[in-house]
């Protein structure tokens, strides 16, 4: 194996895998959402650019946003796997070389992403800091160099044992790589099912206290399991948070049918991605012998999803009232979203769970 081959192989393999998921995402319903979202964002950006006042606090806010951009996309990709530490005992030099190449690649890649992020803010920067073009250009270079340095430092910190810096901590490097990939696959998992994705499990004591007050908690056998999974599995809880936040971010900048359409899409995407929770226990052998009917599963899912969608509607409604001038269309929009929530919960999820379990039963009988 040539010294450069390992890095090249792993890099190509990663992008093949990513492209596979990207292909699914852009072939699916999400492409419509992206199309509208992109249009809405461009429109909102134009509005912002026109109306943005040149004051000390808008200038400071831009500085803060650009500073914050250094905190994201700063992890290095190493492509190191757990088996490498064993297999490459015979020639660790090769593995170290591949790691170094991956670090260089990551510094350039993250630096490139930083440049793109800063360039997106250039129109605002040139408006807020007119006459200071050179400062903006130098600031851009500084931010890119800072991102490259942060990526390098993060990589070095993970890779070396504190007490023996000449030794590489391959376990820590492989763990960090697992985490990086898990974050990327969690994003893909918002749109397509990523097999084998292990979502982190985390207890949230404050949220868990509200479980007994959840409507139907003491009546529906599966609801405690679904609700606890929803709270503890980041994949589901963060999905809900993300949808609420994304919708809330659009509300101050958009109105009318375009806003309604986007909020409706977020609700649909949320239910679509929450549905796999119903079938996720089917892999456990005992799930099949539980005295639970399909109707019980549907009722538990409905009892879980309806309050979540209604809370989403309430948060958005309050934001609409707070940020937009009062208009009768707002009432129509809020009612439409509530109606859609009911449709998604009682009709769409019903239909999806039916077909989900029918398909699995049919496939099982073929084996």
């Amino acid at each position: 194996m040539h010294t450069d081959q390992l890095f090249k192989q792993r890099l190509a393999q990663q992008w093949r895998e990513f492209l596979k998921y990207l292909k699914f995402i852009f072939n699916d319903h999400a492409v419509i959402a992206f199309f509208f979202l992109f249009g809405a964002l461009l429109f909102a950006y134009r509005q912002l650019l026109i109306s943005l006042p040149v004051t000390w606090w808008t200038q400071a806010s831009l500085g803060l946003i650009l500073g914050f951009s250094l905190a994201i996309f700063n992890k290095p990709a190493t492509f190191i796997r757990h088996a490498d530490a064993l297999v490459f005992l015979g020639d660790e030099h090769k593995l170290r070389h591949a790691w170094q190449q991956a670090m260089t690649y990551s510094m350039l890649f993250n630096g490139g992403l930083q440049l793109i992020m800063v360039l997106i803010f250039w129109p605002i920067a040139f408006k807020l800091f007119a006459q200071l073009e050179w400062i903006i250009i130098i600031g851009t270079v500084v931010l890119v160099l800072a991102k490259i340095s942060i990526t390098y430092m993060r990589g070095q910190r993970t890779a070396r044992f504190k007490q023996q810096p000449q030794l590489m901590n391959w376990e820590a490097i492989a763990n960090a790589e697992d985490q990086r990939l898990a974050n990327i696959y969690s994003f893909f998992n918002l749109f397509v099912d990523v097999p084998g994705l292990a979502s982190p499990i985390k207890a949230h004591p404050y949220l868990e206290k509200i479980r007994p007050s959840w409507p139907g908690y003491h009546k529906l056998a599966l609801l405690p399991l679904y609700l606890t999974t929803f709270i503890r599995k980041s994949q589901y809880l963060m999905l809900w948070v993300r949808m609420v936040v994304l919708g809330s971010l659009l509300i101050p900048f958009l109105q009318g049918p375009l806003l309604l359409l986007l909020l409706a899409l977020f609700q649909y995407l949320f239910v679509l991605q929450l549905l796999p929770l119903v079938s996720s226990y089917r892999r456990l052998a005992y799930d099949g012998i539980l005295p639970i009917s399909l109707s019980d599963r549907k009722k538990a899912f409905q009892a879980l999803s309806l309050p979540l969608l209604l809370i989403m509607d309430i948060v958005w409604f309050i934001l609409i009232i707070l940020t937009q001038p009062l208009h009768e269309f707002q009432a129509i929009m809020s009612l439409t979203l509530v109606m859609l929530s009911l449709l998604l919960v009682f009709w769409y999820s019903n239909y999806s769970i039916n077909s989900m379990f029918k398909r699995r039963t049919r496939n099982a009988s073929k084996k």
Partner: protein
């Protein structure tokens, strides 16, 4: 081949698990590291293969120090972990080819060795299988074949008899004896001494991360719990 472990103290992060471990493995010698769960066997091994860094002490193999010259040190070792770790996207044949490439082995001789080992462990018709289709025992056998096609000076094997069928245990013991005759050294961890009684030259009994007893089998009686000796 000589492995020297001197005053090794180590563990995970800030937590110290093993304290002041000292031992030597000479060429053609099999040393068994024994102890109950949590006694520090796997931690010791993780230090010896460089997966953990020593907090104190020295580890050298044929004069190469783990901390001063990790690449040269590690190149002399083959390791079989307790939990088999394989590349999920490579089949058995590709795993073996990777080992041949990494250890810069002669392809013809190595494949001859591999053929013999694959037959021995009844894996010869599974060259195109991917790890996902292997049972835990089969994965263990794959790791053993991968390690034994190399010409390592020191073989480190963590709990080799867990998950292996009786035939495979016998085959592995034969292989260990064979490599031992050729001058390779072995460090093997186990819960039960009885399997290794006839094959190991030295036993090291770990208790709470410290060496509680060490020596040939006939000196260990009374110093090690009877159940570990396989006499319970």
């Amino acid at each position: 081949m000589t492995l020297n472990v001197e005053h090794l103290t180590g563990g995970y992060g800030q937590q110290t698990v093993i304290h002041d471990i000292n031992f030597t493995i000479e060429p053609g010698e099999v040393t068994a590291l024994i102890g109950l769960n949590g006694s520090g066997k796997s931690t010791t091994i993780n230090h010896l293969v460089g997966l953990l860094a020593p907090m104190q002490g020295q580890i050298t193999l044929n004069g190469a120090s783990l901390t001063a010259n990790p690449i040269q040190y590690k190149s002399q070792i083959a390791y079989v972990p307790e939990q088999p770790v394989l590349y999920e996207e490579l089949n058995l044949k590709e795993h073996l080819q990777t080992m041949i490439d990494v250890y810069k082995l002669d392809a013809t001789t190595s494949w001859q060795k591999a053929d013999r080992l694959l037959k021995m462990f009844r894996l010869d018709d599974k060259l195109n299988w991917f790890p996902t289709h292997f049972s835990k025992g089969m994965r263990q056998k794959v790791m053993i074949v991968m390690a034994f096609i190399t010409n390592a000076d020191l073989y480190i094997i963590d709990e080799p008899f867990l998950g292996l069928d009786a035939l495979a245990v016998q085959d592995l013991l034969e292989l260990i004896d064979e490599k031992k005759q050729q001058g390779a050294g072995f460090l093997i961890t186990t819960h039960v001494m009885s399997t290794l009684k006839a094959h190991a030259n030295h036993f090291i009994y770990l208790e709470n991360g410290e060496i509680a007893a060490a020596g040939p089998i006939d000196t260990m009686a009374g110093r090690v719990p009877a159940l570990l000796m396989g006499e319970g």
